[in-house]
Amino acid sequence: MKPALFDYTAPETVAEAVATLAADESARPLAGGQSLIPIMNFRLAQPGTLVDLGRVAGLDGITVTESEVRIGAMTRQRTLESHAGANAAHPLIAEVLAHVAHIAIRNRGTVGGSIAHADASAELPCLLLATGGSVCATGPEGERTVAADDLFSFHMTTTLAQTEILTEVRIPRLPPATGWAFEEYARRRGDYALAGVCALVTRGAGGVCTGARLAGCGIADRPVRLTAAEDALRGSTVCEDALMAAGEAAKGHATLPDDLQASQAYRADLLAALVRRAAVRAAERAGG
């Protein structure tokens, strides 16, 4: 099918793009188009105005600072995946991106677009939560920073206003003595996850887990921190018992009701297995 009619604008500055969004409530930014255009082809979305961000200056590029990786919103997913500096600062980035769609989609799809789209099954929002990242956005009232914990409000919904443009995604560097892992299960390669888990495990003396950050996708109405599993791992030596306990604890986070893909009970079991796999791999990489 083909998209319904819309007005098309290709502004060159963020200010211009924000003004165009503010002038039409049904206006939407167009980034890589890898989610928006299929939805428009199916006429599930019919924005009155499309604000193409492709010509806006200064929205792409990757900067690695002492504390974080700063990714311009329009940076293509494939560019981030193959960026040596970004992946040295946080190796979980490339591991997660390999699971997002297919190469041809990642060549066009942007990092900011995936976060703004906020599909509850998407991998990048889950990565942002697990790493404690944040985004910068610009709207009519100016610029602000939103922490990942305050960003995702529902499936395909963020706390950003319709008039705000996400300009940058920030991922803190991998903390010292910390291992990382991403595990997901999808029916076909490149599909959205039935469930996925990002794990960061920090170990201290004697291999004791001193910190754990886990997040899951595909299991609730948004990406969620798996705090119950984190609690079960912290203070343990990430032994078999602790892994089993973390998996069991995580099940409570699988709140998505039965759907065509899977039952809630199945997703909960799947989540428990993925938590165990991700946590054990992350712990091995943390050493100790």
């Binding site: 319904a4 819309f6 167009l30 299929p38 193409d52 190469i103 041809a104 066009r108």
Partner: protein, 181 residues
């Protein structure tokens, strides 16, 4: 019962507003006036008559509309023609040499019987071409190749021969580079 005739005459041309777009397709720079909602796939097929780029699903899943956009594989069904302003597009029509000599990827598909109906083939060829340009020394394990091919669907071959063709394409390319083929 006869179907009633449409009450209004069918317009001879689209009444959509138009916008000019200038882009390069297979080395030729051209300017056309298009509706902003025209997909790049439709632009390539209907405006330019390059029907080697196929259209299957129009939602990014099947991969048969894959072309090179600024040197990298992308879905032409998920790109608006107006988004391609200033871009360099390559379609399957540009892949063989003008004298008809097949590109190593095409040659490999032929030798390995990696196509039956051929509907998916342009998409596979463009995706592999893009990947080999990005990664000249690819991992040739079954798993790695299947990962690269996972963005394209074939309803005929069962993929076995397409995996073989991928390996053969690398061989043929290397042989040509050293003057062998």
């Amino acid at each position: 019962m006869a179907r009633s005739l449409p009450s209004k005459p069918i317009p001879a041309a689209s009444s959509d507003p138009r916008r000019e777009v200038t882009l390069t397709v297979n080395g030729e720079t051209l300017t056309r006036s298009v509706s902003p909602r025209m997909l790049l796939s439709d632009f390539i097929r209907h405006e330019l008559g390059l029907t080697g780029t196929h259209v299957g699903c129009e939602h990014g899943v099947c991969g048969c509309c894959t072309v090179l956009i600024d040197g990298r594989a992308g879905r032409s069904c998920l790109t608006l023609a107006v988004q391609a302003e200033g871009a360099e597009i390559r379609t399957i029509e540009s892949v063989a040499r003008p004298d008809g000599t097949l590109h190593p990827v095409q040659q490999a598909f032929m030798e390995c019987h990696a196509l039956q109906c051929g509907f998916c083939t342009p998409g596979f060829v463009m995706a592999i071409l893009s990947y080999l340009e990005e990664t000249p020394q690819p991992d040739l394990s079954e798993d790695a190749i299947r990962e690269v091919l996972s963005g394209n669907l074939c309803r005929c071959t069962g993929y076995k021969n397409i995996v073989r063709a991928f390996r053969r394409a690398v061989e043929l390319r290397d042989a040509r580079a050293t003057g062998g083929g």
